[in-house]
């Protein structure tokens, strides 16, 4: 019983990380309508930029912010250089998927060439375990959860109460109609990539803090856990992705009590497959909706 409660605590932390990335993926899909395979590597990229700033003596939180901005710019660049020409031509989603694969190759191996494959550490650690209520968490865990919740709350406020958020929701609902209403679609899409990049980088840093080591493959390996959350919540629905992340995070950590922990990620992938097989219609009807 005690092990279960502790696992739920870990699950909440994992959920907080996955939620950040999953909301970013979902928001991007709701606006651009394709699945980006390079997202995992964007996470890694953000973490590496933050790590580099960190090793140069920059304050940790400033370093994370720098990583976020860099990843946002990377997303905007990928959009302009790669994805936008395809979207203008109106190609099949499969083509964009494969193009995203090309971007993933470039980013992941660019990281290897720039920073090598040796595992790296941040100067700060997640600290020692504390008893927080019934859970066994560290200071770092608490900071991650707090950061995730406040960023997502900020995103919610932006989507709900600002003119920018309203335009974004209009855009994801009906692109042509939004354009006819005078919304600058190109600029909104670029802004979406930037915002998603920031969330992705923060998720990447948090992931590295939890996993304990920064390696070029860290984001790509987590990508399909994130996709699991996205699919569970309904593709292209950022609020659904938060719920999906909660379920995926809890299930992976709780399953680690009952089976070999090496199968933890495999279980998340199993959930993805089952979901797509059992509820494909629920997923398809959700395309292009913010909520």
């Amino acid at each position: 019983m005690n092990a279960l409660v502790v696992a739920i605590g870990f699950g909440l932390v994992t959920s907080a990380i996955v939620a950040l990335a999953a909301v970013a993926v979902s928001l991007q899909i709701s606006v651009t309508n394709f699945i980006n395979f390079a997202y995992g590597d964007f996470m890694t990229f953000g973490a590496y930029v933050a790590w580099m700033a960190d090793t140069h003596g920059v304050n940790f939180f400033v370093a994370v912010a720098l990583g976020g901005i860099a990843t946002g710019l990377l997303g905007v660049a990928a959009n302009y250089l790669v994805f936008r020409p395809f979207m203008r031509r109106g190609v099949r989603p499969v083509t964009l998927l494969i193009a995203g694969l090309g971007v993933a190759f470039i980013v992941q191996n660019g990281i290897i060439i720039l920073w090598g494959t040796d595992p790296q550490q941040f100067s700060v650690t997640i600290g020692d375990s504390l008893r927080v209520g019934p859970f066994l968490l560290t200071t770092g865990d608490l900071v991650i959860v707090a950061a995730s919740v406040s960023l997502l709350a900020l995103l919610h406020a932006m989507l709900r109460y600002t003119k920018f958020g309203k335009s974004l929701r209009a855009l994801s609902n009906n692109l042509d109609l939004a354009q006819a209403c005078g919304i600058n679609v190109e600029r909104m899409i670029a802004a979406t990539w930037f915002i998603c990049g920031i969330l992705t980088a923060v998720a990447g840093v948090a992931l590295v803090m939890e996993e304990g080591g920064l390696q070029p493959s860290v984001g790509f390996n987590e990508l399909f856990v994130v996709f699991g959350a996205v699919i569970l919540g309904g593709i292209g629905r950022p609020y659904g992705a938060m719920v999906g992340a909660l379920v995926v995070g809890l299930m992976t950590e709780i399953s680690a009590i009952y089976v070999n922990a090496a199968y933890k990620t495999a279980i998340a992938f199993g959930i993805v497959i089952l979901l797509l097989l059992i509820r494909p219609q629920g997923i398809f009807t959700a395309l292009g909706k913010t909520y």
């Binding site: 193009a99 090309g102 971007v103 060439i113 399909f224 992938f269 494909p280």
Partner: protein, 318 residues
Amino acid sequence: MLFFLTDLLVLGCINGIMVVGLNLQYGYSGLLNFAFYAFVAVGAYVAAVTTMGPPPSNFGVETYILQWSLPGPVGLLLGGLAAAAVGGLVFSFTVPRLRSDYLGIVTVAAAFIIWTFINNFIPLFDGANGLFGIPHIIGGTSLSTEEYSLVMAGLGVIILSAFIWASRRIFRSPYGRLLRATREDEVVVASLGRKAWHAQVWVYVAGCFMGGIAGGLYVFYLTAWDPNSFLPLESFFLMAALVIGGSGNYWGAVLGAFVILEGVNEVTRYVPTLGSSANAGSIRAIAIGILLILILRFRPAGLIPERWLHWYPRASSD
């Protein structure tokens, strides 16, 4: 020098068989498979455990199933059949139900699950330690490395040619037409009263069989195999090679395998100015990534487009 060439030819043929198999799946039916290398691995493992016999007693640390000592070619065939069986199991559930991009995600997830399972479940194929000491496919151990490489090159060319011929037959058959029509517009095909999913499942099974055979050849050539040999990323390289070469056209698949997988590999190995040898693999991947995006952007049908196949003289009277 001759060894260098035959070695290149063997690896080229093995990659060629894989990409030709993938072409049956993605090229003909337009459905993604990012798990192709997992089926290559199944073929490789089954070919290994059915031919290598029990582990030598003096270091009995290897544990694996079957431990048969069948002749090499039989093991090769069993490997192909096992890959086809696993493929049938996976794709008969997923192909009829999923749209192509979601099928792509499911295949990646399946590849990760198969990899994690093989890597961690030691009694099956010795887990992360892998198998080694796999016998040569023919001729015992009397052949030198160079001679064996020559034998394998011959075998590779024969099998690759046979599979290209089979691809051509499937392409020109009514099933091939049905698959292509479904790929272009499923609704039109349905309106004509045809359903393509059983044909799609069969080309998936056939493609997995080819993958399994390629895996078997590979394992007999390398004589060792472990989970690092089939990292999920490898499937993405096969897909890139197919798209660049020309998906839907088996000659495009062969070109992709030889030029993209082999050629780029060799070129990056011999460009010393690009930095340490550790970076060669990364430079190769970046080159393939850039090439993939450029081809998709400016020549979406690939280097050898599918429509070139229609230049063949027709047997019938149209």
